[in-house]
Each structure stands twice: as structure tokens, then as C-alpha cells.
């Protein structure tokens, strides 16, 4: 079984927002670490979770499926799921899959955190 090739770090820019910094690959092997990071980020009172893809190296269709799973969980928790740092190619994939309609996309973390605070 392949090991996950992703490092995830949860940061707290303010009490209501968490940022999950993604470095590496989002594929089927990333499921456990991604869900653990989401659970850590979903502390009580958190209203927005930002996925920072600035250091994403590769994401495949299984990774897209994981984002849908995260979105389902976030919707249940009444949390906003947001994204930043996506390359032009992955922005296109978000548009093709319509993920961009459910996960607001921002150019960088600063813009996403500002929008989350509105």
C-alpha cells in the first residue's frame, strides 16, 4: 500500500477560521490525513475552513472525491469551505466539476481569511 505523500498543517488565523495548508499530493492515499486535519480544524465555533493549495503538487480524481466528502461534512457542520492558492489548471478542474460553486476560491490566504471574516 502506498504511503500518503502529503503534509497537512492546521493554522488558526482567528477564532472563527482555520487554514489547512496542503503540501504534496491529494489522492486516495491522502484520505486519512486529510480527514484528520479536517477534524482538527473543526474545533467548536469554527465557521470557515480554508484549504491552502499553494504547495499542491498533484491532485487526481480520487482527490476531487475527497474534497466532495469534505464539503459534505462542512455543510453538515454549517461551515464554509474555501480554497486558495490553486493553479490555473486546478481552478479549471474546480470549474469543470462545479466545485467552485460550492467552495469559494481566492488567490491567496490573506484574501480568503478576509472573506471568511465578513
Amino acid at each position: 500500500m502506498n504511503q500518503p505523500k502529503v503534509m497537512l498543517a492546521v493554522q488558526s488565523p482567528n477564532d472563527l477560521t482555520r487554514v489547512i495548508k496542503i503540501k504534496g499530493e491529494i489522492n486516495s492515499q491522502a484520505e486519512a490525513p486529510l480527514m484528520e486535519a479536517y477534524a482538527e480544524a473543526s474545533a467548536q465555533g469554527v465557521r470557515a475552513i480554508i484549504l491552502d493549495f499553494s504547495d499542491l503538487e498533484y491532485m487526481n480524481s480520487s482527490g476531487i472525491g475527497l474534497l466532495v466528502t469534505l464539503l459534505i461534512r462542512a455543510n453538515r457542520q454549517r461551515q464554509k469551505l474555501m480554497a486558495c492558492g490553486l493553479s490555473a489548471h486546478y481552478q479549471q478542474i474546480f470549474e469543470l466539476t462545479r466545485l467552485n460553486e460550492a467552495i469559494a476560491i481566492f488567490p491567496d490566504e490573506k484574501a480568503a481569511v478576509a472573506a471568511a471574516s465578513l
Binding site: 459534505i72 466539476t97 462545479r98 460550492a102
Partner: protein, 147 residues
Amino acid sequence: MDPAWRTLAEFNLPSQPGNEKIAMARVALLIEPFNLKESLVERIKTAVAEATMNAMEHGNHYQADVPVQISLDASKSKLRVKIEDQGVGPRRQTPEIPDLDAKLAGLQSPRGWGLFLIRSMVDELIVTTGDGFHRLELIFNLIGKRS
């Protein structure tokens, strides 16, 4: 009229998880001399990776000793990547077009984006199933796509 194809490379890969990235990297290296726009290169890489992953998983059931065959051909105006597995019998396809609303409502699995991504990345897709093989031909137009 069919374009005149010339074969640039042919190679096999064992059906092991993660080898789709080797296919993607090899094809990316092989197309470097074409000086294609980055957006097209990314589309090619994603389509090759997804098609190779499907072939290894659904065709060869991740049996390492059953290889996926990959070839790269070019004509004056097109690039073609053929990806073939040794799957037998009708291929189980994603039963429905993935729909985000249906997935969020629990009416579809969160997964099932692979074939959709392939179709979205290519200009033409030819699927052939024969006696003991299943082949995808990913075709990309090159006209106006060089940087």
C-alpha cells in the same frame, strides 16, 4: 481524412498504485520538444494519469505483473496517447455523469470523477474494447497550442 501518425514512444508500466505518475512524467518529458502551452500540457498530464489509473485499477486490477501499455503518436496537427489494459469483458463504467448536487445530496458517491476528467481534458476520446484488451485513445489538437 486520418492524419499521418508517427510513433514517438512506446512503453509498459506494471499495474501498481502510483505508477500513473510515472506515465504522466514520461509523457510530459516526451512532449517537451513540442513547446506546447502550459494549459495544454496540464490537460495532457491529467488525462494520461487518469486513464492510466483506470487501466491499472479497473482493467488490470492492480496485478503488478499485468502491464499497462502506453504509446505516444504525433501528426502535424494532433497528439495521441494510447493507453491499453488487459481487462476482459465489458468495462464497468461510471453509471452516471457525476453531478455535484447529487453527490452533496447523497444520491451519488463522492467519487467517480475519473472518466469525466478524461473526457473534459481531451479533444477527442476513442474507446476500443477487444478480445482481452481495453484501449483509450486520448487525442489533443495542437493547432494554435504552441507557446
